[in-house]
Amino acid sequence: MNQVYVKQNVEESHQNMKKASPVLEVKDLNIYYGEHHAVKHITMPIEEKSITALIGPSGCGKSTFLRTINRMNDLIHGARSEGEILYGGINLLTPKVDVVQLRKEIGMVFQRPNPFPKSIYENLVLSLKFSGIRDKKKLKDIAEDCLRKAALWDEVKDRLDKSALSLSGGQQQRLCIARALALKPKVLLLDEPSSALDPISSSKIEELLLKLKEEYTIIIVTHNMQQAARIADKTAFFYQGELIEYGNTDQMFTHPAEKRTEDYISGRFG
C-alpha cells in the first residue's frame, strides 16, 4: 500500500505544485494495546490547512491512530506506540515530549459532546486558566473570538453565564470545538464529531469545519462516507489496522485504487 501512496503523491505533486510541506509526517507507525496490534505500519503525510478524513469500519484503528497524534492514548493502560509522528521536526512519540504542551498545539474534539458542567464562558476559558492566563479582558476577548469562529456567538452571546448543559447537542458540540480553538492550536483532531447529532446540527458542523480549514489543519474520523466526500480534501481508508488507501477524496470516491476501498465505499461491507 505504500506504493499506492507514493504513486498518488507523485501524481499530485505534478497536479499541484504549490502544495505546502506536510504539517504532520507519520512514518511506519505501529500501535499496540498489550498484545493486540491495533495499527500496523502507517505512513502518511498530513497537509497543512486541509481536511483529512479517516474512514473505515469500526475497530479498524482509525480512532486509535487519531488519539495517538496528541498522545491521548497515553491515558489508556497498556497502550504503546512505535514509529514516528513528525511535527515541526520533533517526533511526538518520544517520551521527552511534554504532552501537556502538545495537546495545546493539537486540539481534540470527541464523539459525544462533553462540555464541563459549568457556564458557557467557563467552558471556553478553562483551558486558558490551565495555561495561567488571568487577565479578564483577554479571557473575554478570546472567548468571544472562539465563539464567533465556531459560529455560535449569535446563539449564545446573551447567556454566556448559563450552564453549558442547557445547550442543545449540536450547540454543545460546537462549544467543544470553540473550546478547543481557545488555545490557538495548529491541528484539530475530531473523533466522529457529528455522529451523535441530528442531520441539521451535523451539517452545521461540516460548514464550520470547511471554514476552519482556512486556519487549521483538520483530521476527522468519520463513519459517514458522504461526510468525508463532502468536506475532506484527502481521505484515508483504514482496514484491520492497515492503511489501505490514502489520496485525494475526489479520486478515492470515484476511482478507488483498491478493491477493498471500493467495496467499503459502496457499502458492500463495514
Binding site: 496528541n70 491521548m72 491515558l75 501537556v100 504542551q101 502538545l102 495537546r103 495545546k104 486540539g107 481534540m108 470527541f110 459525544r112 462533553n114 462540555p115 464541563f116 458542567p117 459549568k118 478553562l126 483551558s127 486558566k129 490551565f130 495555561s131 450552564s163 467543544c176 473550546r179 478547543a180 481557545a182 488555545l183
Partner: protein, 322 residues
C-alpha cells in the same frame, strides 16, 4: 345468558396447557405459593410500612417525652436552649441550661469534619484518580477496618494516646473539645472517604478526557474538573459524616472531659448532648424532672439530625439543577 357467562368465567380454560386467563381469586392459599405475586407484594410493602412506622413512632415518642419538661415541669424553652447553667440535681433552685451541650455537640461535629474532610477526600482521590489499581486495593480494606473498630476502642485509644499527648503539648488536663473532635474525626473518616470515592468515580470519563485534551495536567483536571463536577456529592459525604459525628456518644465521652460549663477554648474540657444523656440517664428515675430534661436533650439531638438530613437534601437537589 348471564348465568352461562358466569359459569364460563369460573372455569379455568381447558386448552393452553392449563393456563388460565382468569385471575386466581383465592389469595389466602397463594401465601404458600413461592411464585405468588401477592406474597411478594405483602413482604415488600410490609417492610416499607414497618420502617416508616418505626421512624414515625420514634419521632412521636421522643417529641412527647421531650416536651414533658416544658409542659409538665414548666421549664421555659428559651431558658433551656440559651441557658448556660446545668444544675438539674441541685436541691434548691435547679437550672436547666443546655446551651453548653448544644455548643459542644456542634463544635465537636464541625471540628471533626474540618479535620477529617481534607484527608478523606484526599484519600478518595488517591484511590480513584492517582492509583486506581493498588490504591484501591490498599485503602479499601483500611477503610473497612476503620468502620469495623468499635467506638469504645476509639475512645480507649483516645484516652490513652490523645489525652496524654494533648496534656503535654497543648496544656490543661488533656480532656478537651479538640481531643473529642480528633477521635470523632478518625471515626467519620471512612464514611466521608467511601462516599467521596463513589462521587469521584461517578464523574464521567468524557469530562476527564476533555480536560486532558485541553492540555490540563492531572492536578488541574482533578482540581478544576473532577472536584467541581462531584461537588454536591462531596458535600453530601461531609454532611453525612457530620451527622455520624453528631450522634457519637461513647468515644467522645471518654476523651472530652464532660464539663458542664461553656468552654473558653477548644483545648478546654466540654460535654455534648449525647455524652450528657449517657452519663446522667442511669441516675435519673422515670418521671423525674432530670429524666424529662434528658429526653428534651434527646429531642434537640433529633431535631438537629433532621436538620442535617434536610441539608443533604438541599445540597443534592441544588447539584442536580446545575
Amino acid at each position: 345468558m348471564e348465568n352461562k357467562s358466569v359459569v364460563i368465567q369460573m372455569q379455568p380454560s381447558p386448552n393452553n396447557e392449563g393456563r388460565s386467563l382468569i385471575q386466581n381469586k383465592k389469595k389466602w392459599t397463594s401465601i404458600f405459593n413461592r411464585n405468588s405475586e401477592w406474597r411478594g407484594k405483602i413482604w415488600i410493602y410490609g417492610s416499607a410500612i414497618v420502617v416508616i412506622l418505626s421512624v414515625i413512632a420514634i419521632t412521636l415518642f421522643l417529641t412527647v417525652q421531650g416536651l414533658r419538661s416544658f409542659v409538665v415541669d414548666h421549664i421555659n424553652v428559651i431558658d433551656f436552649i440559651t441557658g448556660t447553667e446545668w444544675y438539674p440535681d441541685r436541691a434548691e433552685n435547679p437550672s436547666y441550661g443546655a446551651l453548653p451541650f448544644i455548643f459542644g455537640s456542634l463544635t465537636v461535629t464541625i471540628l471533626a469534619a474540618i479535620l477529617a474532610a481534607p484527608f478523606a477526600i484526599g484519600s478518595a482521590l488517591f484511590m480513584t484518580e492517582l492509583a486506581p489499581k493498588w490504591g484501591q486495593k490498599v485503602l479499601q480494606p483500611v477503610i473497612e477496618i476503620l468502620v469495623g473498630i468499635p467506638s469504645v476502642v476509639y475512645g480507649f485509644i483516645g484516652l490513652s494516646v490523645i489525652v496524654p499527648f494533648m496534656r503535654t503539648h497543648v496544656g490543661g488536663s488533656g480532656f478537651s473539645l479538640l481531643s473529642g473532635a480528633l477521635v470523632v474525626g478518625v471515626m467519620i473518616l471512612p464514611t466521608i472517604t467511601s462516599i467521596s470515592a463513589d462521587a469521584v468515580r461517578a464523574v464521567s470519563h468524557d469530562l476527564r478526557q476533555a480536560s486532558y485534551a485541553l492540555g490540563a495536567t492531572k492536578w488541574q483536571t482533578i482540581y478544576r474538573v473532577v472536584i467541581p463536577a462531584a461537588k454536591s456529592t462531596l458535600l453530601t459525604a461531609i454532611v453525612l459524616g457530620m451527622a455520624r459525628a453528631f450522634g457519637e456518644a461513647l468515644a467522645v465521652q471518654m476523651v472530652i472531659g464532660n464539663a458542664r460549663n461553656l468552654p473558653n477554648a477548644i483545648s478546654d474540657p466540654s460535654a455534648t448532648l449525647t455524652t450528657i444523656i449517657t452519663l446522667s440517664m442511669g441516675h435519673s428515675t422515670t418521671g423525674s424532672v432530670l429524666n424529662d430534661v434528658l429526653w428534651s436533650l434527646g429531642l434537640v439531638l433529633l431535631i438537629i439530625s433532621y436538620g442535617f438530613i434536610l441539608l443533604i437534601r438541599f445540597i443534592s437537589r441544588r447539584g442536580q439543577i446545575s
